[in-house]
């Protein structure tokens, strides 16, 4: 029976297959086979969004596009485009006709006496020898306009003012007459005075000439302004420039504006100069080179006693790729070669940077800037009215800096520098031009969205002629001791460590930072004093606490408290303290 059932079950599929074949054959016979395969697609109903947009409709005026807000990576905001920014928290719209910012502040500096004597003086008496506290108010105002009164006109004003209370005490002058004598500040800075000064104030007009001959590319700026040529020049004058795609030329001139002092108001040196830049990239990208030539002349200065100084600069800027720049620069002062510099800058993915530069200075270079090149003979007892770092020695300085951002949260920076003098044997060595080796690094890690930890280190080791124990000058108390050689003076090296802890609820909302740092300085030991030996190192530290809070989008409150540890070099005080508070309003 089982076999019979099996047989029967085998027979049924065969019958079915035969029947299926017959049906298929009949259908095939009834339907002619397609000679060519045809592509018949099931058409979807036309969606309501599909509109065959004719040319006319495409050109019909549409609603103004909503501007995209600038992104953190590369905002496309430009002062030259009329793309407005609206509805963006905290960011300023630089295209607004008027922008105004007012900053009011109050600062207190202090140095509390320790009751001990200083290294060069007995224990100071507060109020007579120095002031324990010094306070002053200050303010800054910034105003910029764009297209006000005249559409082609831009202006910018920066004003600084401050009010400091002068602390005086009774004293006598050289003739013995009684008079008020100002008490020395706890912290010596220039903030002693009251008054205001226009730091910057200029008006610029552009695109005001007809387009013929390319004149619309002329731009003229007049007033108190900074000019960036061979030197960062602050002048009250005129700056005119023509900016084309290939050719950029500028001329400027005017009396030099002195910062932080009014000493030069009587007879200020006049600065004048010009630049010419030819950028071949404006013609062809095959030769990505720009050549710049600059000239600056500064007339005689009564203050420094410096005569006329002429400075020439030639710079070649080669950009083989968008993120690779090689800059070669030669500067001459009064017809002599003063410095040579070559710099390589590369960038990768916006956050990885590498900079390598080599600078070679020659003895004819500025001591500090063009107002001081060759210092004339001075009065024997004259204190340096201008900070004089001595004659420039031929020097070669090479440095490399590299930084990157790992996983967008670990910020790394490394820096190394080496400086060596190329002094001939008969040239004097200066304490300010000692060879050195520098190593520095820093990193910052965000531990949480709002919290970041940072660490930094800086070490600079200076090469100076060392004196062995027996060669050191014996410090005899009473007689006037021998002075060491100038090149021996100064520190031998220092190492500085710092840590920061930052908390932020948003850069324009609330943020706070605590910073702690320490520094160990080793001085070159030139004297030996068996009775009262001097410390060979100076260890000091400090801390800083800042709070930055915003009230809405227009008002910012900032406070910073800076404090130092006790200082080996100033045992008469317990260190420095400074509290600074500012209130900023933005329009």
């Amino acid at each position: 029976m089982k076999r019979a059932m099996t047989k029967a079950s085998r027979g049924r599929p065969a019958e079915r297959a035969r029947l299926r074949t017959l049906i298929v054959g009949a259908v095939l016979a009834a339907t002619p086979a397609a000679a060519e395969p045809s592509l018949v697609l099931t058409r979807e109903p036309t969606p309501r969004s599909l509109r065959m947009r004719p040319r006319v409709l495409a050109q019909a005026p549409s609603l103004p596009p909503r501007p995209r807000p600038p992104m953190p990576v590369a905002p496309t905001v430009s002062a030259t485009t009329a793309e407005p920014i609206e509805g963006l928290d905290g960011l300023r719209d630089v295209t607004q006709p008027v922008s105004f910012s007012l900053n009011l502040g109050y600062q207190v500096d202090g140095a509390r006496p320790s009751g001990r004597a200083g290294l060069g003086s007995p224990a100071p008496v507060p109020g007579r020898d120095y002031s324990t506290l010094r306070s002053y108010g200050f303010g800054e105002a910034f105003l910029s306009t764009r297209g006000v009164v005249y559409s082609r006109l831009e202006t910018y004003f920066a004003l600084r003012f401050q009010a400091a209370r002068k602390i005086v005490t009774d004293g006598v002058d050289a003739t013995g007459a009684e008079r008020d004598v100002q008490v020395t500040s706890p912290i010596a800075t220039w903030f002693e005075r009251s008054g205001y000064e226009f730091r910057t104030g200029w008006a610029e007009i552009k695109d005001f000439l007809p387009a013929r001959f390319g004149l619309q590319k002329l731009r003229v700026r007049a007033g108190n302004q900074f000019v960036y040529g061979p030197w960062i020049l602050h002048l009250d004058g005129l700056y005119a420039t023509y900016e084309g795609p290939t050719l950029t030329a500028s001329l400027y001139g005017g009396p030099r504006h002195s910062d932080y002092t009014r000493d030069q108001t009587e007879r200020r040196p006049v600065a004048g100069g010009g630049s010419l830049r030819i950028d071949l990239r404006g013609i062809t990208n095959a030769v990505p080179i720009a050549v710049t030539g600059e000239y600056l002349t500064l007339t005689e200065s009564d203050e420094t006693g410096e005569g006329q100084v002429d400075t020439e600069l030639v710079q070649v800027d080669w950009r083989p790729r968008r993120d690779i720049v090689v800059i070669g620069q030669i500067r001459g002062v009064n017809g002599e070669l003063a410095s040579q510099r070559i710099e390589l800058r590369t960038r990768y993915k916006q956050v990885t940077n590498f900079v390598f530069d080599v600078t070679r200075r020659f003895s004819g270079d500025w001591r500090w800037d063009p107002s001081l090149v060759t210092r004339p003979t001075q009065d024997l007892t004259e204190a340096k009215r201008y900070l004089d770092l001595g004659p420039v020695l031929p020097q070669l300085i090479a440095s490399a800096r590299a930084g990157t951002l790992i996983r967008e949260n670990i910020d790394l920076l490394g820096r190394v520098a080496i400086a060596t003098d190329t002094v001939e044997n008969d040239e004097p060595v200066n304490t300010f031009s000692a060879p050195y080796f520098e190593l520095a690094g820093a990193f910052e890690v965000r531990l949480r969205r709002q919290v970041a930890f940072g660490f930094s280190v800086l070490s600079r080791q200076t090469v100076r002629p060392a004196r062995l124990e027996g060669e050191r000058i014996l410090d005899e108390h009473g007689p006037i001791d021998e002075l060491p050689d100038d090149s021996e003076l100064g520190e031998e090296g220092f190492t500085e460590l710092g840590t920061t802890l930052k908390m932020t609820l948003g850069a324009r909302r609330f943020s706070a930072m605590v910073e702690v740092y320490g520094r160990n300085t080793r001085y070159s030991i030139l004297y030996r004093d068996p009775i009262a030996p001097l410390p060979e190192t100076d260890v000091r530290g400090g801390g800083r606490f800042t709070v930055d809070a915003w009230v809405g989008q227009r008002i910012r409150l900032f406070a910073s408290y800076d404090v130092s540890s006790a200082l080996d070099t100033s045992p008469d005080i317990n260190g420095y303290k400074s509290l600074r508070m500012t209130l900023t309003g933005i329009y």
Binding site: P75, S78, A79, A158, A507, T569
Partner: protein
């Protein structure tokens, strides 16, 4: 010291680096899959007669006499695996593979240029009209979909007869090349959630345009170059109070991520931060070397640094006269700036003219005291660092007392 520092840095970097996720290797091409190159002699339409899978019509046309008739007449075997997941004696129950097949390999990838299709001028000049994103990516009911052949056929079907466009019959017009790995950019991966339907309008009802997020699509010529939306485009809206309510701000991770961020390695990266935060490129290195970036776009600086004019030329002073470098602490101001000026005076001169230095160095320091005892007792301080004297006093001033060649050491 340097050794400990290196160890510390290494430990921190190791701690902050997540365990490396081994990317699963791409599986090889399914060996049972039909090979187009072996069927090159057959016109595409010979197999792809409709949008359905070839062979869906009771194995037609695969079981044609000249093709695979013998395989279909024989017992089920490996040949069945071309379309079926498994071989079974119950043919009607044999499960089918997905069609189109969803594996990392695409048999004949289409050549599709978003750039060309979204170039309004080009489209109008060629075919007389232009299209928008929704024309291809929106279904009749408004749902966002990936376009299919039917979508393309609206314009490329023979009936449309648009000049200068490949016809649907011409399969090679789009499907060129060899099998290659799919490069479809999958942005919504892991624990990320995203709903297109919730992104039609902002909180004020203003439509969110496709290109607000998919701005790169209009620039891509191939799928390979079809980049995903940038996270910055999310930030741009989700930090804008006018467009997004507070509850949906970027800083609330759970709005997009299903898993709560808890570990060190899952900190929101900087590009998730709102535009008001420090920009991505403002690194420690940028603090030192930002001259070129500032020259290139001073207006960009002025959006946050409100004391600036926004004028793109000669504007460095507008920041440098006000903002202090990070190392300008109180001890730097009082004590430590000297060695820095000696080592790198050009750095100082970036902001300070010589009068700035003179303004302080011309003052009588506190260490000199009020009375003239310092004149007699300065030796101890001077011996520690004589250079602190010569910074302000000319050398001859010292030699006035320390005079005579016998007292002057060295050269």
């Amino acid at each position: 010291m340097s050794r400990e520092l290196c160890i510390l840095v290494a430990v921190l970097v190791a701690a902050c680096t997540p365990s490396r996720r081994s990317d699963a290797p791409i599986p090889p091409v399914d060996p049972a899959r039909i090979k187009h190159e072996q069927h090159a002699q057959i016109p595409c339409g010979g197999c792809h007669r409709s949008s359905a899978r070839p062979g869906a019509d009771d194995h037609k046309p695969c079981d044609d006499g000249e093709c695979h008739k013998q395989e279909f007449l024989g017992p089920p075997g490996e040949f069945c695996r071309v379309c079926h997941v498994e071989v079974t004696t119950r043919p009607l129950n044999a499960p089918l593979k997905d069609y189109p097949i969803e594996d990392p390999w695409q048999s004949l990838p289409p050549v599709f240029s978003h750039r060309r299709h979204m170039d309004s001028k080009l489209m109008e000049s060629r075919v007389g009209f232009h299209v928008a994103c929704a024309d291809c990516h929106t279904r009749g009911d408004g749902a966002h979909v990936r376009p299919t052949h039917a979508t393309c056929s609206r314009c490329h079907a023979a009936e449309a007869a648009l000049p200068g466009t490949p016809r649907m019959q011409d399969c090679n017009g789009c499907h060129q090349g060899k099998p290659r790995q799919r490069t479809r950019a999958r942005v919504i991966t892991g624990d990320l959630q995203f709903h297109h339907e919730r992104h039609r309008t902002d909180r004020k009802g203003v439509a969110i345009k496709c290109q607000d997020c998919h701005g790169q699509s209009a620039k891509s010529d191939l799928y390979d170059s079809h980049g995903p939306p940038r996270i910055e485009s999310c930030v741009g809206c989700h930090d804008d109070a006018n467009r997004v309510p507070y509850q949906l701000r970027m800083r609330i991770c759970e709005n997009c991520h299903l898993e709560k961020t808890a570990t060190l390695t899952q900190i929101a990266p900087r590009n998730h931060l709102p535009a008001t935060e420090r920009p991505l490129d403002h690194t420690l290195a940028f603090r030192r070397d930002h001259a070129e970036a500032a020259e290139r776009s001073a207006a960009r600086c002025a959006t946050c640094h409100t004391q600036m004019s926004g004028n793109p030329r000669q504007a460095c002073d507008e920041c440098h006269q006000r903002m202090l470098p990070a190392d300008h602490r109180i001890t730097f101001r009082e004590l430590d700036h000297g060695p820095e000026a000696a080592a790198d005076r050009t750095r100082c001169a970036t902001c300070h003219v010589v009068e700035f230095c003179t303004a302080c160095h011309a003052q009588r320091p506190r260490s000199h005291g009020f009375e003239s005892t310092f004149f007699k007792e300065h030796g101890r301080l001077a011996r520690l660092n004589v250079r602190s004297c010569t910074t302000c006093h000319v050398e001859n001033f010292c030699l006035g007392c320390h005079a005579g060649p016998s007292l002057r050491g060295g050269r």
